[in-house]
Amino acid sequence: MIEARGLGRTFTTRQGPVEAVRGVDLDVDAGEIVGFLGPNGAGKTTTLRMLTTLLAPTAGNATVAGCDLRADPAGVRRGIGYVAQGGGTDPALPIGEELELQARLYGVGPVAERTAELCARLDLEGLERRPVASLSGGQRRRLDIALGLAHRPRLLFLDEPTTGLDPHSRGDLWDHIRRMRAEDGTTVFLTTHYLEEADALCDRILIMDRGRIVAEGTPAELKRRVAGDVVTVELADAARDAGRACAALAGLAAVREARADGDGLRLRVDNGDRELMGLMRALDGAGVELASLRLARPTLDDVFLTVTGRSLREAA
């Protein structure tokens, strides 16, 4: 659905050229939900604006929704929907008018039917005559998405879809996005700087930093790249058992690292969930008395830290 090679954009500023995006290669298959994760300023929006024909690339090219970005931008536009970060509605206009115009511009008919369908789809029924300014944040975001979906595009771009929404509206929007893919097979390409969002929504994540894609994979794959899960073992009598426990665990293949830490041990374990039983048996066999055992998965923030050397929260 998207195939980009060496896509780049350099802006000319008074301080000299700024490479916002440097040679991005990416492939998105039909029906995928793919997310660009990265701090503000990483080049996510610039890449999105190139893929949606709003900004000419200064390097590379892409095929989007079956059309060549440079040779046939009009074809790309017919095939895609785009929802900008700040939306794109006039606060004074009734939402019905904006939806109708959008349907007409794409030549979707019958217009009244399509508008009603979109309103039903995105829980906007009964609001058609209300001006955009009177909508809540969540409603306005759903209107933006309805506008992007007016022509049933096969590919929808969402730029920071839930920025500024409360947690309830965010979860609600995630449901809408999942349903879009489940019911219509819509391919979704989104950007986000929220870890939870990338984690909850995306089949595949591209981590972007300083204009480059620095890592790529499913959320689970990416997390596995961080050397193992963290297992915290609390011992009943650390002073007595810590040394013995460490020795017993160090022999297990899955344990990458084991060290004494406060009242117990801190371990880095591959596939921690599967290895928990093994850990317990080994400790039991060594006659160590356990107080508790906790498994923590690495987060995408750990992934970002591993790949870029900085925490996503610091980078933003």
Binding site: T53, L54, R77, G86, G88, T89, P91, L101, L105
Partner: protein, 249 residues
């Protein structure tokens, strides 16, 4: 071509609808020239004598309406750039030319209605002019509005911000207004000032509209004014089209 026409109509309607809903906008836009008409016009009747003074003054006020009405059209575009509406429309397959023409035609229609209202006010105050002459004059100023609105959009697009666009606009419009003889005919000006005024395209349009109001249709003045207006429309719409095409990158 059919697509351009259709898209232009859709964009035209989009921007016309809010005006139809809130017709006070129409009236407010014409208040300033109306104030000139009522509070300044009568002064001239003392200078030139009743009927002739209105035939000189009303055309000037119409061109002033174009400068300050259509000239300010760009502000709406800046609002659209800010709200993301401009970008949303540019991601659709809508014709780029239609994005310009739809807006410009709505601005021209608005201006034609306001200009007619001002002529009607002029009639109440004592304007007497042949119907054909008034229609020729209205046609000229409406065409001029197409040109000015297009240029306003080009400037708005280039500056992108109200605080840059507003001072630029007043810097351009004020000398254009004064040098076109809107308030008093340029024939009254000293030689050097009149010479400068011939470099101002608005002067030709003002002179032509005055001639039309006076009933002198088949004159070089009207021909020249019409030619200048057409040239302005062609050049400014071409500039606007180029700008709106380029913005899609």
């Amino acid at each position: 071509m059919a697509k351009v026409v259709r898209d232009t109509y859709l964009i035209f309607l989009r921007y016309l609808r809010p005006t139809l809903r809130n017709r006070m906008v129409l009236v407010f836009g014409a208040v300033q020239p109306l104030v000139y008409l009522v509070l300044f016009g009568p002064l001239l009747t003392e200078v030139f004598g009743g009927a002739r003074s209105w035939r000189v003054f009303v055309p000037g006020i119409l061109v002033q309406l174009v400068l300050f009405g259509a000239g300010f059209a760009g502000f709406a575009l800046i609002a659209d750039l800010r709200s993301g509406v401009a970008e949303r429309l540019r991601v659709t397959p809508v014709s780029r030319v239609a994005l310009l023409l739809g807006r410009v035609l709505r601005d021209a229609l608005l201006l034609a209605v306001q200009a007619s209202m001002l002529v009607a006010a002029g009639l109440l105050l004592g304007l007497r002019a042949p119907v054909a002459g008034v229609l020729v004059g209205l046609a000229l100023v409406t065409a001029l509005a197409v040109a000015i609105a297009s240029l306003s959009y080009v400037l708005a697009m280039s500056t992108g911000r109200e605080d840059a666009f507003a001072p630029l606009l007043s810097t351009v419009t004020l000398p254009l207004m004064l040098l076109s003889g809107i308030l008093l005919p340029m024939d009254l000006a000293p030689g050097w000032l009149e010479a400068v005024s011939w470099a101002n395209p608005f002067r030709y349009v003002v002179d032509a509209t005055r001639a039309a109001f006076a009933g002198d249709y088949a004159t070089a003045t009207v021909g020249r004014g019409a030619a200048v207006t057409v040239a302005l429309v062609v050049v400014s719409v071409a500039l606007g089209t180029r700008r709106f095409r380029a913005e899609n990158a």
